[in-house]
Symmetry: C2
Subunit: 132 residues, 2 copies
């Protein structure tokens, strides 16, 4: 039982909805999925159940319906998924990956500036903070 369960592609869609607003009913989840996703109600419930089984989400009963909420944070999941992706595709080298993205992506001037600001801040923070 790894802390962070493996979440499949379809399950990610469900999780994103639940992270955005919770607790939430199955019906609302189905409604709030991106428009280009066309799953039957049953399919949505199947994914919800699998997420329950994986302990990625929990629920509280309220009258007739269940209200689901996350048991793992988006942060954790993004981190885990990123690690896995990094390892698979770039052999774990984060800088290689960022480089690749910067080179391939179409970035607007605004975005470039924003990223540069983040980098600069990171540099300054590093100076100021004692290494630990």
């Amino acid at each position: 039982m790894p802390r962070i369960p493996k979440i499949s592609e379809s399950e990610w869609e469900i999780m994103k909805v639940i992270w955005r607003s919770n607790p939430i009913t199955a019906e609302q989840i189905a409604l709030q999925l991106p428009a280009d996703i066309e799953w039957s109600d049953q399919t949505v419930r199947t994914f919800i159940n699998r997420l329950l089984k994986k302990n990625a989400i929990g629920f509280e009963k309220s009258g007739r319906s269940y209200h689901y909420y996350p048991l793992v944070s988006e942060q954790e999941c993004v981190r885990a998924e990123s690690q896995s992706f990094l390892k698979r595709v770039f052999g774990g080298a984060a800088d290689l990956m960022v480089t690749n993205f910067l080179e391939e992506a179409q970035l607007s001037d605004k975005e470039i500036e924003r990223l540069q600001r983040i980098l600069t801040e990171k540099q300054e923070n590093k100076d100021r903070r004692p290494k630990m």
Copy 2:
């Protein structure tokens, strides 16, 4: 039959070896896998066969053994995999992803400088080149 086939985690390991040096025999592929991977010979050949079936690689006979070579470039595969990852985890927002990485990753001063240089170059190139 999508141009770029879906390559599984294990298959990526095989592909990385083949991209690095090819044409290459199954035996050599097995030998050149990272040390922490311990697959039986048969397992390696299973993955090779699946990659053949997916048209990710091809081969030429030479006497007793086959020599395998890639039919899809690393570039293409990295791009496809990145797209898929981006879509799944960040809803397709590349800048969001880069931001996240920059914020989470432990970057050395050297790396930060290198990334900044890349960003600066990108900015300049954009100016110089006519938009297309």
